[in-house]
Amino acid sequence: MIKKHFYTHIIDTSTLSLELGEMDMASDERLHLLSLVESNIHQTILDLVLSELSEKDKRTFLMHVASSSHDKIWKFLKVKTKNIEEKIKKAADDLKKELHKDINEARLLSHK
């Protein structure tokens, strides 16, 4: 992960980094792909969390995100949502599976 987000400690993207690390590409290209991974995970998780909150609570959550108040985010989410940690993990895992599939597809294409 390039930046530490409130969910960074529960999401492991090292398998993606390792797979990209084994592929034939320049380091700046790899860095760009990792930034896309991060960005896609970030949007997926924001969408998931916001979908669990009321309009009023969405604003509180976004302000905490904007100020990187990770402790406040978790305290808030524990009160306002149910099993959010598990839901975040699952959403990230589903996305990671898709990204791994894309990597495998890219490998197969280069062998044709």
């Binding site: 592929m23 930034s35 896309l36």
Partner: protein, 289 residues
């Protein structure tokens, strides 16, 4: 010529990025727009807040591939993350940082620039590490150095002539004994200098010589937290006076690079010591790694 793995994945993941972005904004538009109107980061025009809004400003698909691969992660991500990280730690008002705040800033700067930055070094510290910066003038580098001998190029003259030259010498006197003995290092020390309130440093009055020796040309990392512009600078003068309401001063070159101005529009900077015992970190602009 692009590598086929990279090309395939970057196209696919950029498309996914756009779809996710569209979905996010479609579902939560009013809340995200509300944040846009109320976030200080956005008001300040920094990219940091925008990045937090799921990169809605970064249309990756519109970037030429060469740019998106080579510049986007470096020019956008790293500096915006620095701005965003600092935003989460710095107080809303410009005041001296607490020990805890200094520690957090120190960690952010050290991590962002790949060096050791701290408010205290070798048991010595300044009166503060976050404060308003004012405009200083050029310093006389050697006896006989004037505005007409001070610059190396016409471009420098155009950019930095207006600030003029300080009537006296810097706190440590001339940078060199003569024009002939002026080294590149001397030039850089004058070009990228700051003036700090050494006389207000805790312990200064009890150990004047020790502190003067410590501060002389001591390297610091200076950061404009509003835009992430950062430089390695050195202490080459003492000031400004307390009554000015400013806490440090920057050479014309430093101020221009940081995009800070004096007067009613003055703004704050962070200034932290860097631990560079072997003198390997060059003076001048620095970017997050």
């Amino acid at each position: 010529m692009y590598n086929s793995h990279y090309k395939h994945l970057s196209e696919k993941w950029r498309k996914k990025h756009q779809e996710l972005q569209k979905q996010l904004w479609g579902r939560h538009k009013s809340s995200l727009e509300w944040l846009s109107r109320n976030s200080r980061q956005l008001v300040a025009g920094s990219l940091g807040g925008l990045m937090l809004l799921s990169n809605q400003n970064v249309n990756l698909s519109s970037l030429p591939q060469a740019v998106s691969a080579k510049e986007a992660p470096q020019a956008i991500d790293k500096k915006t993350f620095l701005i965003s990280d600092l935003e989460g730690v710095l107080p809303k008002e410009v005041r001296a940082l607490t020990g805890e705040e200094e520690q957090k800033v120190s960690e952010i700067l050290s991590r962002s620039f790949g060096l050791r930055a701290s408010a205290e070094l070798q048991g010595k510290r300044l009166n503060r590490s976050y404060g308003f910066i004012g405009q200083e003038q050029h310093l006389t580098r050697y006896p006989g150095d004037t505005m007409s001998t001070h610059f190396d190029s016409e471009d420098e003259v155009k950019k930095y002539w207006d600030q003029g030259m300080a009537p006296g010498r810097g706190a440590w006197g001339y940078f060199a004994h003569s024009k002939e003995s002026l080294t590149e290092e001397d030039k850089l020390r004058e070009k990228y200098y700051i003036a700090v309130q050494t006389f207000l440093a805790p312990g200064f009055m009890d150990h004047v010589k020790e502190y003067v020796d410590f501060f002389k040309y001591r390297k610091m990392l200076i950061v404009n937290p509003s835009n992430g512009m950062s430089m390695i600078v050195d202490i080459a003068d003492a000031g400004p006076a307390e009554w000015t309401g400013k806490h440090l001063g920057g050479s014309p070159e430093v101020m221009k690079y940081l995009e800070r101005v004096d007067g009613a529009w003055k703004g704050p900077v962070l200034y932290f010591f860097i631990d560079d015992p072997n003198d390997t970190i060059p003076l001048g602009p620095i970017k997050p790694v």
